[in-house]
Amino acid sequence: MIQLRRLSYTYPGAATPVLRDLELEIEAGALALVVGASGAGKSTLLRCLNGLVPHFYGGVISGSVRVAGEDPIARGPRQMSRLVGMVFQDPETQFVVDTVEAELVFAMENHGYPQDVMGQRVEWVLGQLEIGHLRKRRISTLSGGEKQRVALASVLTLQPQVLVLDEPTSQLDPQAADEVLQALRALNRELGLTVVLSEHRLERVVGYADQIIYLPGDGGALAGPAREMLAQIDQAPPLATLGLALGWQPLPLTIEEARAHLGSPPSAPPQKTAPMPVAGEPEIVVRDLWHAYDGRPALRGVDLTVGQGEAVAIMGVNGSGKTTLLKHLVGLLRPARGDVQVRGLDTRHTPLEELIRTVGYVPQNPNALLFAETVREELAFTRANHGYPRDSLPPGLLEALGIERYLAHYPRDLSVGERQRVALGAILAAEPQIILLDEPTRGVDRLQKEALMRYLAHERAQGRTVIVSTHDVELVAETMDRLVILERGRVAEDGPTREVMARCPAYASQIGQLYGDPRYLTVGDLLGGRR
């Protein structure tokens, strides 16, 4: 179905090619997963399949691309759109019109389909993706998962043979991501559509994949059956890592497959569960906190006490109140009812300027923060605002974040993960005692995530308090010792990560789900130092 021969591509103005002599073949009806570090060329490769590269981006391309017998380089994205449907990462930015039905027909109108065909296709696609109930809705009122399914439906109306998806679930919570992935799997199985998608969180999607395409970062690609490839790449999800270490054959891709191997006990004696670090003085006290946006309740009586030096994860589906709670802790929102105390200061009566001396909050979207010409200036801006000398920096900050190489770079040119770390630096340059992170691993690859985890460990060693709102169960299992689960604005669970994960499989790490035992959450718990 898809054939790339000696494909090389260089972005305009770039010195080195992103793709170099790339060879790749994808069979008809396969579900292929594209993996690789940020900047390895995943998005570029996907955009070659419908001609957005080079038609939209310019640059220099050589070699050949064949998709369903056509040449996207010659035909361009408009003509390829009948053969290749493309869904993008951000559910917000790919919609043209305001209602679901109008969005579904947009592509067909552009291709001049007759009225009756459009009607039939709309009915078909609404049924296929089980979104009939959304038909008349405004897109702005949909949840993230619903939006991505509508985006999928809006390209399916042309009945393409290939679906290309660029990190379609990276902005979704695990449940919404599952909805989208299951819809994709059904399209792949029932209609025989060839699906090519990229994703950082391998643990989410690897169970669905037939083929893995790995971009090592040198411009080439390695491809093979999912099981074989997992043994070769450095980004394997925990389950595969464990399976490899314990010699499980065939290598399990899903929890169900792994259960078959469970007869053999873990080869290493269980690690003693690390005792909860004794929490110091309570630094944050939230009592009966309520908050509503224009009458819609977001927090409904939250109680939470966090002691000095604790590492607390806040999880919950989108809209459960995680971000609202974090904003209360830094004073961006003031309690409507109940109260919030940060190191003894009542946020209702304390100016924000005073609160931000002790609390650093890194918002979800690093783009909201970065404006300066260089990373160095970005850090200096925060330092100056907080009354420190402009060019001084807290010792160890750059090294811990791994951004010393980028000091002279323009922040917006960096990859998502690098930008995320610069944003962290821009907040932490103020040396806050309490660090609040909102979704720090969104769009961040495995290596960058590990750098972030190292940094958090470093900060905690210095007695700092860390609170992270996240969907990333593996991050929580590896680094956080306490887990709070919010449900519809209320605290549903609160306790040591190991216990909460054992109680709530929906929020457990892969290893936690597999064993259902509080002693085993990570590969490290099972194998000790032998990872």
């Binding site: 951000d90 043209v96 390209v155 979207n365």
Partner: protein
């Protein structure tokens, strides 16, 4: 859901009637009919709260403008009280007639606002845009993008403002706006690029068919020429009033050329329209009733102009009521009755954007 065209006809007829009938009783009938319509459509719209607020504001403005007419116009026989005659403008007798005339004029304007509110609740902007003729398709798409882009950018602006505040950003001079403006601009730009990609990948723009490059170049030349003519016409009309007729001719010619060019361009791109809105029996009923009300009122007005106007200064204080005309105006309530007879639509229930 009714066809947007039938709504357009209803709103047009109701608005003309409200403007024609400077008469409190007829206006009240129009307002009551509109109220029924409003009740019928308000059940299925998210915008009710904002329109209700606007209507209240209109009511308030109406009430405070009544004294203006009374203070300025000193005609009429029923004198309420007198202000010293040497006071400029407002001095003199303050009459009941002036109060009533002012109230009636304000009433008509408020009725218009009410009709507009009901119309907007009944159809949304996107539906109306889809009625635009094919050669305006691109303009319609651009407008609809803008309609969704603006709220998104406002949300981004708020997010950026918050993010900079927690970095200790404060406003002291124009340079301090950079941390807010630059992220906003780059965010807008990135969004625009992603949207453009998504539109391209779904075949937007189509391929120009059956048009040679030479013909296309001629069409473009024609568009430039027509804009030039338009400009000359505008300038002529302003600076040489004695050539006004010629200026209008130029403007009309320019408009015709431009429309022709758009039309040709629109036809050369193969594209179709998806219209879910079917013209049903209800739509025919709405259109017929609205047009009948308007036509009947116009006929009555021409047969006897006194029927429709309420002239407190010259005629009696009590408005005369012509029953057939009143009956005609009740026809404007038909869309409301139809909407109320239908089951409450689901879907756009009271859900909103997640924060």
């Amino acid at each position: 859901m009714r066809h947007p065209l039938s709504w357009l006809i209803w709103a047009g007829c109701a608005a003309v009637l409200a403007l024609m009938a400077r008469h409190p009783l007829y206006l009240t009938l129009v307002v009551l009919a509109t109220w029924l319509v409003y009740l019928g459509v308000a059940r299925s719209s998210l915008m009710v709260a904002s329109w209700r607020a606007l209507l209240k504001l209109g009511l308030f403005i109406w009430l405070i403008t009544i004294p203006f007419n009374a203070l300025m116009i000193h005609q009429g026989r029923v004198v309420l009280f007198r202000l010293p005659a040497h006071w400029p403008l407002i001095g003199g007798p303050i009459t009941l007639e002036a109060v009533l005339a002012g109230a009636t004029a304000g009433y008509a304007l408020w009725a218009l606002l009410f009709i507009f509110a009901a119309f907007n609740l009944g159809v949304d902007a996107a539906q109306l845009l889809r009625l635009a003729p094919p050669f305006l398709y691109q303009a319609g798409v651009v407008t609809s993008i803008a309609l969704t882009f603006i709220p998104q950018m406002l949300a981004s602006a708020r997010e950026i403002r918050e993010a900079q505040r927690i970095r200790g950003h404060r406003f002291r001079g124009w340079r301090d706006s950079l941390p807010l403006v630059i992220p906003l601009l780059t965010t807008a730009f990135e969004r625009a690029v992603q949207l453009a990609e998504s539109m391209d990948a779904r075949g937007f723009g189509g391929a120009l068919t059956g048009m040679t490059p030479r013909y296309l170049a001629r069409l473009r030349g024609m568009m430039v020429l027509s804009l030039l003519l338009f400009l000359i016409g505008m300038v002529a009309q302003i600076f040489w009033p004695h050539l006004a007729a010629l200026a209008y001719l130029l403007i009309a010619l320019a408009a015709a050329m431009l429309l022709y060019a758009f039309h040709r361009l629109g036809r050369s791109v193969r594209r179709s329209r998806y219209r879910r809105e079917r013209w049903g029996a209800g739509d025919s009923a709405i259109a017929l009733c609205s047009l009948a009300a308007l036509a009947g009122a116009l006929w009555l007005r021409y047969s006897n102009p006194a029927h429709m106007t309420y002239a407190p200064y010259t005629g009696g204080l009590l408005p005369a009521f012509h029953a057939p005309l009143g009956l005609l105006l009740t026809l404007l309530a038909v869309p409301g009755l139809i909407a109320l007879a239908e089951p409450t639509p689901e879907g756009d229930a009271l859900q909103d954007v997640a924060p």
